[in-house]
Protein backbone atom coordinates (compact mmCIF):
# COMPACT_ATOMS: atom_id res chain seq x y z
CA UNK A 1 0.00 0.00 0.00
CA UNK A 2 1.47 3.36 -1.02
CA UNK A 3 1.18 6.45 1.17
CA UNK A 4 -1.27 7.90 -1.31
CA UNK A 5 -3.49 4.82 -1.12
CA UNK A 6 -3.31 4.80 2.68
CA UNK A 7 -4.25 8.49 2.80
CA UNK A 8 -7.15 7.82 0.46
CA UNK A 9 -8.44 4.98 2.67
CA UNK A 10 -8.06 7.14 5.78
CA UNK A 11 -10.06 9.99 4.33
CA UNK A 12 -12.59 7.55 2.85
CA UNK A 13 -13.22 5.99 6.27
CA UNK A 14 -13.30 9.38 7.94
CA UNK A 15 -16.09 10.48 5.60
CA UNK A 16 -18.08 7.28 5.77
CA UNK A 17 -17.95 6.32 9.45
CA UNK A 18 -16.07 9.10 11.22
CA UNK A 19 -13.18 6.75 11.97
CA UNK A 20 -10.10 8.90 12.59
CA UNK A 21 -6.96 6.90 11.86
CA UNK A 22 -3.53 8.22 12.70
CA UNK A 23 -0.56 7.47 10.48
CA UNK A 24 0.56 4.68 12.83
CA UNK A 25 -2.67 2.76 12.21
CA UNK A 26 -1.44 1.51 8.86
CA UNK A 27 -1.13 -2.02 10.29
CA UNK A 28 -4.79 -1.92 11.34
CA UNK A 29 -5.95 -0.98 7.85
CA UNK A 30 -3.79 -3.74 6.38
CA UNK A 31 -4.98 -6.44 8.79
CA UNK A 32 -8.67 -5.52 8.65
CA UNK A 33 -8.98 -4.81 4.93
CA UNK A 34 -6.86 -7.72 3.68
CA UNK A 35 -9.80 -10.11 4.08
CA UNK A 36 -12.08 -7.62 2.26
CA UNK A 37 -9.68 -7.64 -0.71
CA UNK A 38 -9.82 -11.44 -0.85
CA UNK A 39 -13.61 -11.44 -0.58
CA UNK A 40 -13.92 -9.12 -3.58
CA UNK A 41 -11.10 -10.80 -5.55
CA UNK A 42 -8.83 -7.79 -5.42
CA UNK A 43 -5.07 -8.22 -5.54
CA UNK A 44 -4.18 -5.73 -2.80
CA UNK A 45 -5.21 -2.59 -0.92
CA UNK A 46 -4.16 -0.49 -3.91
CA UNK A 47 -6.71 -2.30 -6.05
CA UNK A 48 -9.27 -1.85 -3.28
CA UNK A 49 -8.59 1.91 -3.19
CA UNK A 50 -9.03 2.10 -6.96
CA UNK A 51 -12.28 0.14 -6.79
CA UNK A 52 -13.63 2.38 -4.01
CA UNK A 53 -12.76 5.50 -6.03
CA UNK A 54 -14.94 4.30 -8.87
CA UNK A 55 -17.73 4.20 -6.26
CA UNK A 56 -19.92 1.67 -7.97
CA UNK A 57 -20.00 -1.22 -5.52
CA UNK A 58 -22.06 -0.41 -2.44
CA UNK A 59 -21.52 -3.92 -1.01
CA UNK A 60 -17.78 -3.30 -1.11
CA UNK A 61 -18.14 0.12 0.51
CA UNK A 62 -20.18 -1.40 3.31
CA UNK A 63 -17.70 -4.25 3.78
CA UNK A 64 -14.80 -1.79 4.08
CA UNK A 65 -16.58 0.40 6.63
CA UNK A 66 -17.79 -2.56 8.68
CA UNK A 67 -14.42 -4.32 8.63
CA UNK A 68 -12.86 -1.26 10.26
CA UNK A 69 -15.35 -1.06 13.15
CA UNK A 70 -14.41 -2.46 16.53
CA UNK A 71 -17.23 -4.48 18.02
CA UNK A 72 -15.76 -5.76 21.23
CA UNK A 73 -18.32 -5.74 24.00
CA UNK A 74 -19.67 -7.87 26.81
CA UNK A 75 -22.62 -8.09 29.13
CA UNK A 76 -22.66 -5.41 31.87
CA UNK A 77 -19.40 -4.04 30.48
CA UNK A 78 -17.56 -1.97 33.13
CA UNK A 79 -20.44 -2.76 35.50
CA UNK A 80 -20.69 0.78 37.00
CA UNK A 81 -22.84 2.24 34.16
CA UNK A 82 -25.32 -0.59 34.72
CA UNK A 83 -25.37 -0.37 38.51
CA UNK A 84 -26.02 3.32 37.92
CA UNK A 85 -28.95 2.48 35.63
CA UNK A 86 -30.51 0.12 38.15
CA UNK A 87 -29.89 2.20 41.28
CA UNK A 88 -30.13 5.80 40.07
CA UNK A 89 -31.10 6.49 36.46
CA UNK A 90 -34.09 4.16 36.21
CA UNK A 91 -35.67 5.04 39.60
CA UNK A 92 -35.13 8.77 38.97
CA UNK A 93 -36.49 8.64 35.43
CA UNK A 94 -39.51 6.67 36.69
CA UNK A 95 -40.17 9.32 39.33
CA UNK A 96 -39.96 12.10 36.73
CA UNK A 97 -42.12 10.29 34.21
CA UNK A 98 -44.68 8.95 36.68
CA UNK A 99 -47.54 10.81 35.02
CA UNK A 100 -46.63 9.87 31.44
CA UNK A 101 -45.55 6.34 32.32
CA UNK A 102 -43.25 6.34 29.38
CA UNK A 103 -39.51 5.87 29.12
CA UNK A 104 -37.29 6.05 26.10
CA UNK A 105 -33.79 4.55 26.16
CA UNK A 106 -31.25 4.44 23.35
CA UNK A 107 -28.08 2.40 22.97
CA UNK A 108 -26.29 4.31 20.23
CA UNK A 109 -23.44 1.84 19.64
CA UNK A 110 -25.16 -1.42 20.39
CA UNK A 111 -22.67 -3.70 18.64
CA UNK A 112 -23.67 -7.36 19.09
CA UNK A 113 -26.41 -6.56 21.59
CA UNK A 114 -24.82 -7.16 25.00
CA UNK A 115 -25.41 -3.58 26.16
CA UNK A 116 -29.10 -3.31 25.23
CA UNK A 117 -29.76 -6.82 26.54
CA UNK A 118 -28.04 -5.94 29.83
CA UNK A 119 -30.46 -3.00 30.13
CA UNK A 120 -33.35 -5.25 29.08
CA UNK A 121 -32.50 -7.70 31.87
CA UNK A 122 -32.55 -4.90 34.42
CA UNK A 123 -35.83 -3.54 33.05
CA UNK A 124 -37.18 -7.06 33.31
CA UNK A 125 -36.10 -7.21 36.96
CA UNK A 126 -37.95 -3.92 37.50
CA UNK A 127 -41.04 -5.22 35.66
CA UNK A 128 -43.36 -5.16 38.70
CA UNK A 129 -42.66 -1.44 39.15
CA UNK A 130 -43.01 -0.85 35.40
CA UNK A 131 -46.45 -2.45 35.07
CA UNK A 132 -48.53 -0.24 32.82
CA UNK A 133 -45.50 1.64 31.53
CA UNK A 134 -44.41 1.93 27.95
CA UNK A 135 -40.68 1.55 27.45
CA UNK A 136 -38.81 2.06 24.20
CA UNK A 137 -35.40 0.42 24.09
CA UNK A 138 -33.83 1.42 20.78
CA UNK A 139 -30.46 -0.02 19.82
CA UNK A 140 -28.48 1.19 16.82
CA UNK A 141 -25.17 0.40 15.22
CA UNK A 142 -23.37 1.30 12.03
CA UNK A 143 -22.76 -2.33 11.17
CA UNK A 144 -25.69 -4.36 9.88
CA UNK A 145 -23.60 -7.48 10.38
CA UNK A 146 -23.33 -7.04 14.15
CA UNK A 147 -26.99 -6.04 14.34
CA UNK A 148 -27.96 -9.38 12.79
CA UNK A 149 -26.05 -11.13 15.55
CA UNK A 150 -27.66 -8.87 18.13
CA UNK A 151 -31.15 -9.65 16.84
CA UNK A 152 -30.45 -13.38 16.86
CA UNK A 153 -29.37 -13.04 20.50
CA UNK A 154 -27.17 -16.10 20.20
CA UNK A 155 -23.92 -16.04 22.18
CA UNK A 156 -20.95 -18.32 22.63
CA UNK A 157 -19.97 -19.98 25.83
CA UNK A 158 -17.20 -17.34 26.20
CA UNK A 159 -19.49 -14.38 25.55
CA UNK A 160 -22.04 -15.37 28.19
CA UNK A 161 -19.34 -15.81 30.82
CA UNK A 162 -17.88 -12.30 30.63
CA UNK A 163 -19.82 -9.99 32.88
CA UNK A 164 -23.03 -11.98 33.05
CA UNK A 165 -23.83 -13.43 36.49
CA UNK A 166 -24.65 -17.13 36.24
CA UNK A 167 -28.06 -16.50 37.85
CA UNK A 168 -28.87 -14.15 34.95
CA UNK A 169 -27.68 -16.78 32.47
CA UNK A 170 -30.02 -19.37 33.95
CA UNK A 171 -32.88 -16.93 34.18
CA UNK A 172 -32.74 -15.26 30.79
CA UNK A 173 -31.03 -17.67 28.38
CA UNK A 174 -31.74 -21.03 26.83
CA UNK A 175 -29.13 -23.47 25.68
CA UNK A 176 -28.95 -24.04 21.94
CA UNK A 177 -26.32 -26.68 21.30
CA UNK A 178 -22.98 -25.14 22.30
CA UNK A 179 -24.48 -21.66 22.39
CA UNK A 180 -26.89 -19.67 24.52
CA UNK A 181 -29.83 -17.66 23.25
CA UNK A 182 -31.36 -14.78 25.18
CA UNK A 183 -35.05 -15.31 25.81
CA UNK A 184 -37.65 -14.21 23.27
CA UNK A 185 -39.31 -11.65 25.59
CA UNK A 186 -35.98 -9.89 26.09
CA UNK A 187 -35.18 -10.03 22.37
CA UNK A 188 -38.54 -8.45 21.65
CA UNK A 189 -37.87 -5.59 24.04
CA UNK A 190 -35.06 -4.24 21.88
CA UNK A 191 -35.74 -2.38 18.66
CA UNK A 192 -32.61 -2.77 16.53
CA UNK A 193 -31.90 -0.54 13.57
CA UNK A 194 -28.85 0.38 11.52
CA UNK A 195 -27.65 3.92 12.06
CA UNK A 196 -24.53 5.86 11.19
CA UNK A 197 -23.99 8.46 13.92
CA UNK A 198 -22.57 10.83 11.30
CA UNK A 199 -26.03 11.01 9.73
CA UNK A 200 -29.06 12.76 11.24
CA UNK A 201 -30.82 10.75 13.94
CA UNK A 202 -33.40 13.23 15.16
CA UNK A 203 -36.11 11.03 13.62
CA UNK A 204 -35.55 8.56 16.45
CA UNK A 205 -37.17 11.09 18.78
CA UNK A 206 -36.20 12.30 22.20
CA UNK A 207 -34.71 9.99 24.83
CA UNK A 208 -34.58 9.96 28.62
CA UNK A 209 -31.40 7.89 28.78
CA UNK A 210 -28.76 7.46 26.08
CA UNK A 211 -25.86 5.00 26.24
CA UNK A 212 -23.22 5.99 23.70
CA UNK A 213 -20.16 4.19 24.96
CA UNK A 214 -16.82 3.50 23.32
CA UNK A 215 -17.63 4.88 19.90
CA UNK A 216 -16.61 8.55 20.16
CA UNK A 217 -13.03 7.45 20.87
CA UNK A 218 -12.71 6.53 17.19
CA UNK A 219 -13.72 10.02 15.99
CA UNK A 220 -11.66 13.20 15.68
CA UNK A 221 -12.50 16.21 17.87
CA UNK A 222 -14.82 18.08 15.42
CA UNK A 223 -16.77 14.87 14.75
CA UNK A 224 -17.04 14.15 18.49
CA UNK A 225 -18.35 17.68 19.03
CA UNK A 226 -20.88 17.34 16.24
CA UNK A 227 -22.20 13.98 17.45
CA UNK A 228 -22.34 15.15 21.08
CA UNK A 229 -24.26 18.27 20.04
CA UNK A 230 -26.83 16.19 18.22
CA UNK A 231 -27.02 13.67 21.09
CA UNK A 232 -27.82 16.61 23.33
CA UNK A 233 -30.58 17.63 20.92
CA UNK A 234 -32.01 14.09 21.14
CA UNK A 235 -31.80 14.02 24.93
CA UNK A 236 -34.67 15.20 27.14
CA UNK A 237 -33.83 18.36 29.15
CA UNK A 238 -33.58 16.20 32.28
CA UNK A 239 -32.06 13.24 30.45
CA UNK A 240 -28.89 11.25 31.09
CA UNK A 241 -26.09 10.47 28.67
CA UNK A 242 -23.58 7.71 29.43
CA UNK A 243 -20.21 7.73 27.70
CA UNK A 244 -17.34 5.25 27.83
CA UNK A 245 -14.62 5.50 30.47
CA UNK A 246 -12.14 7.07 28.02
CA UNK A 247 -14.64 9.59 26.65
CA UNK A 248 -15.76 13.04 27.75
CA UNK A 249 -17.70 16.12 26.62
CA UNK A 250 -15.14 18.57 27.98
CA UNK A 251 -13.69 20.78 25.27
CA UNK A 252 -16.01 19.21 22.68
CA UNK A 253 -19.43 20.68 23.34
CA UNK A 254 -20.97 23.29 25.66
CA UNK A 255 -24.33 21.60 25.59
CA UNK A 256 -23.48 18.78 27.99
CA UNK A 257 -21.79 18.75 31.39
CA UNK A 258 -20.32 15.93 33.47
CA UNK A 259 -22.40 14.85 36.45
CA UNK A 260 -20.70 15.93 39.66
CA UNK A 261 -21.70 12.66 41.34
CA UNK A 262 -21.26 9.91 38.79
CA UNK A 263 -18.34 9.25 36.51
CA UNK A 264 -19.28 8.64 32.87
CA UNK A 265 -22.67 10.36 33.31
CA UNK A 266 -23.45 13.61 31.51
CA UNK A 267 -26.45 15.94 31.68
CA UNK A 268 -27.70 18.90 29.66
CA UNK A 269 -25.80 22.09 30.43
CA UNK A 270 -28.07 24.38 32.46
CA UNK A 271 -30.55 21.59 32.09
CA UNK A 272 -33.39 20.46 34.21
CA UNK A 273 -31.66 17.49 35.82
CA UNK A 274 -30.74 19.44 38.93
CA UNK A 275 -34.12 21.10 39.34
CA UNK A 276 -37.14 19.79 41.19
CA UNK A 277 -38.76 17.07 39.09
CA UNK A 278 -42.33 18.37 39.27
CA UNK A 279 -41.53 22.02 38.59
CA UNK A 280 -41.17 21.82 34.86
CA UNK A 281 -43.32 20.89 31.91
CA UNK A 282 -42.20 17.78 30.11
CA UNK A 283 -41.44 17.86 26.42
CA UNK A 284 -43.60 15.67 24.26
CA UNK A 285 -41.37 13.05 22.70
CA UNK A 286 -41.90 13.07 18.97
CA UNK A 287 -43.30 9.69 18.11
CA UNK A 288 -44.37 10.31 14.54
CA UNK A 289 -41.80 8.61 12.33
CA UNK A 290 -40.18 10.54 9.54
CA UNK A 291 -40.90 9.45 6.02
CA UNK A 292 -39.21 6.19 5.11
CA UNK A 293 -38.41 5.21 8.69
CA UNK A 294 -40.51 2.41 10.13
CA UNK A 295 -42.28 3.31 13.38
CA UNK A 296 -40.42 2.39 16.53
CA UNK A 297 -41.64 -0.64 18.36
CA UNK A 298 -42.81 0.01 21.86
CA UNK A 299 -42.88 -2.42 24.72
CA UNK A 300 -46.03 -1.79 26.64
CA UNK A 301 -46.67 -3.03 30.17
CA UNK A 302 -43.53 -5.05 30.73
Amino acid sequence: MTDIEFDFLRSYLKTRSGLALSAEKRYLVESRLGPVCRRFNLADLGALATALKSGRDTAMERAVVEAMTTNETFFFRDRVPFDLFRDVLLPEAMARRASQRRLRIWCAAASTGQEPYSLAMMLNDAAPRLAGWSVDLVATDLSTEVLEKAKAGLYSHFEVQRGLPVQALIKHFEQVGEQWRISAPLRQMVDYRPLNLLHPFDALGSFDIIYCRNVLIYFDAPTKGDVLGRLSASLAPDGALLLGAAETVIGLTDRLVPSPQHRGLYNQAGGAAARAPAARPLPAAPILPAAGIPPLRRVVGL
Binding site: H157, F158, Q161, I170, Q175
Partner: protein
Protein backbone atom coordinates in the same frame (compact mmCIF):
# COMPACT_ATOMS: atom_id res chain seq x y z
CA UNK B 1 -3.54 -12.02 51.39
CA UNK B 2 -6.61 -13.62 49.87
CA UNK B 3 -6.50 -17.39 49.69
CA UNK B 4 -7.88 -19.76 47.10
CA UNK B 5 -8.13 -23.53 46.90
CA UNK B 6 -8.11 -25.06 43.42
CA UNK B 7 -9.86 -28.42 43.37
CA UNK B 8 -9.42 -30.38 40.14
CA UNK B 9 -8.12 -33.85 39.31
CA UNK B 10 -6.27 -32.47 36.28
CA UNK B 11 -2.80 -31.22 37.12
CA UNK B 12 -2.84 -29.16 33.93
CA UNK B 13 -6.01 -27.30 34.92
CA UNK B 14 -4.64 -26.72 38.42
CA UNK B 15 -1.48 -25.24 36.95
CA UNK B 16 -3.35 -22.94 34.53
CA UNK B 17 -5.76 -21.81 37.24
CA UNK B 18 -2.94 -21.30 39.76
CA UNK B 19 -1.24 -18.86 37.38
CA UNK B 20 -4.42 -16.86 36.93
CA UNK B 21 -5.15 -16.66 40.65
CA UNK B 22 -1.55 -15.82 41.54
CA UNK B 23 -1.55 -12.84 39.19
CA UNK B 24 -4.68 -11.70 41.03
CA UNK B 25 -2.72 -11.81 44.31
CA UNK B 26 -4.28 -14.95 45.70
CA UNK B 27 -2.27 -17.37 47.80
CA UNK B 28 -3.11 -20.66 46.11
CA UNK B 29 -3.57 -24.17 47.48
CA UNK B 30 -4.42 -27.28 45.44
CA UNK B 31 -6.42 -30.45 45.98
CA UNK B 32 -6.99 -33.25 43.49
CA UNK B 33 -10.36 -34.48 44.75
CA UNK B 34 -13.24 -33.47 47.00
CA UNK B 35 -12.05 -35.47 49.98
CA UNK B 36 -8.60 -33.87 50.03
CA UNK B 37 -10.25 -30.48 49.52
CA UNK B 38 -12.50 -31.04 52.53
CA UNK B 39 -9.47 -31.94 54.65
CA UNK B 40 -7.68 -28.78 53.45
CA UNK B 41 -10.72 -26.64 54.29
CA UNK B 42 -10.85 -28.25 57.75
CA UNK B 43 -7.35 -26.92 58.38
CA UNK B 44 -7.73 -23.46 56.84
CA UNK B 45 -10.89 -22.15 55.25
CA UNK B 46 -9.92 -20.35 51.98
CA UNK B 47 -11.59 -17.17 50.73
CA UNK B 48 -12.38 -18.71 47.36
CA UNK B 49 -12.64 -22.22 45.91
CA UNK B 50 -12.41 -23.11 42.23
CA UNK B 51 -14.18 -26.45 42.02
CA UNK B 52 -14.27 -29.14 39.35
CA UNK B 53 -17.32 -31.40 39.22
CA UNK B 54 -16.14 -34.82 38.08
CA UNK B 55 -13.34 -36.15 40.27
CA UNK B 56 -12.50 -39.53 41.81
CA UNK B 57 -13.20 -40.31 45.48
CA UNK B 58 -15.51 -37.33 46.14
CA UNK B 59 -16.92 -35.20 43.34
CA UNK B 60 -17.33 -31.42 43.42
CA UNK B 61 -21.06 -31.54 44.03
CA UNK B 62 -20.73 -33.79 47.11
CA UNK B 63 -17.80 -31.72 48.32
CA UNK B 64 -19.83 -28.52 48.09
CA UNK B 65 -22.76 -30.00 50.02
CA UNK B 66 -20.41 -31.27 52.71
CA UNK B 67 -18.52 -27.96 52.83
CA UNK B 68 -21.65 -25.88 53.33
CA UNK B 69 -22.57 -28.06 56.35
CA UNK B 70 -19.10 -27.63 57.90
CA UNK B 71 -18.66 -24.90 60.54
CA UNK B 72 -17.27 -21.86 58.69
CA UNK B 73 -17.99 -23.62 55.39
CA UNK B 74 -20.53 -21.01 54.35
CA UNK B 75 -17.78 -18.40 54.07
CA UNK B 76 -15.74 -19.34 50.96
CA UNK B 77 -16.97 -18.12 47.60
CA UNK B 78 -17.28 -21.26 45.51
CA UNK B 79 -16.87 -21.08 41.74
CA UNK B 80 -17.71 -24.30 39.99
CA UNK B 81 -15.45 -24.87 37.00
CA UNK B 82 -16.58 -27.79 34.94
CA UNK B 83 -17.45 -29.29 31.58
CA UNK B 84 -20.95 -30.00 32.99
CA UNK B 85 -22.51 -27.21 30.96
CA UNK B 86 -26.22 -27.89 30.86
CA UNK B 87 -28.80 -25.76 32.61
CA UNK B 88 -29.79 -28.59 34.95
CA UNK B 89 -26.26 -29.03 36.26
CA UNK B 90 -25.85 -25.28 36.77
CA UNK B 91 -29.16 -25.09 38.65
CA UNK B 92 -28.16 -28.05 40.89
CA UNK B 93 -24.81 -26.43 41.65
CA UNK B 94 -26.40 -23.12 42.59
CA UNK B 95 -28.94 -24.92 44.74
CA UNK B 96 -26.13 -26.72 46.56
CA UNK B 97 -24.56 -23.35 47.39
CA UNK B 98 -22.25 -22.44 44.51
CA UNK B 99 -21.69 -18.68 44.10
CA UNK B 100 -20.67 -18.70 40.46
CA UNK B 101 -20.23 -21.14 37.64
CA UNK B 102 -17.49 -21.34 35.03
CA UNK B 103 -18.01 -23.52 32.00
CA UNK B 104 -14.86 -25.11 30.62
CA UNK B 105 -12.97 -24.27 28.53
CA UNK B 106 -12.23 -21.04 30.35
CA UNK B 107 -9.70 -18.24 30.02
CA UNK B 108 -8.24 -15.54 32.22
CA UNK B 109 -10.94 -13.01 31.31
CA UNK B 110 -13.69 -15.36 32.40
CA UNK B 111 -12.05 -16.15 35.73
CA UNK B 112 -11.40 -12.47 36.39
CA UNK B 113 -14.97 -11.56 35.48
CA UNK B 114 -16.45 -14.31 37.64
CA UNK B 115 -14.25 -13.38 40.61
CA UNK B 116 -15.44 -9.79 40.26
CA UNK B 117 -18.99 -11.16 40.22
CA UNK B 118 -18.50 -12.69 43.68
CA UNK B 119 -16.78 -9.62 45.10
CA UNK B 120 -13.08 -10.07 44.36
CA UNK B 121 -12.49 -6.94 42.32
CA UNK B 122 -9.23 -6.52 40.44
CA UNK B 123 -8.77 -3.01 41.93
CA UNK B 124 -8.66 -4.53 45.42
CA UNK B 125 -5.49 -6.41 44.50
CA UNK B 126 -3.34 -3.32 44.81
CA UNK B 127 -4.11 -3.14 48.53
Amino acid sequence: MKTCLIVDDSAVIRKVARRIFETMNFQVGEAEDGEKALTACGETMPDAILLDWNMPTMDGYDFLRALRKTPGGEKPKVLFCTTENDVGAIARALHAGADEYIMKPFDRDIVTAKLAQVGFLAEADAA
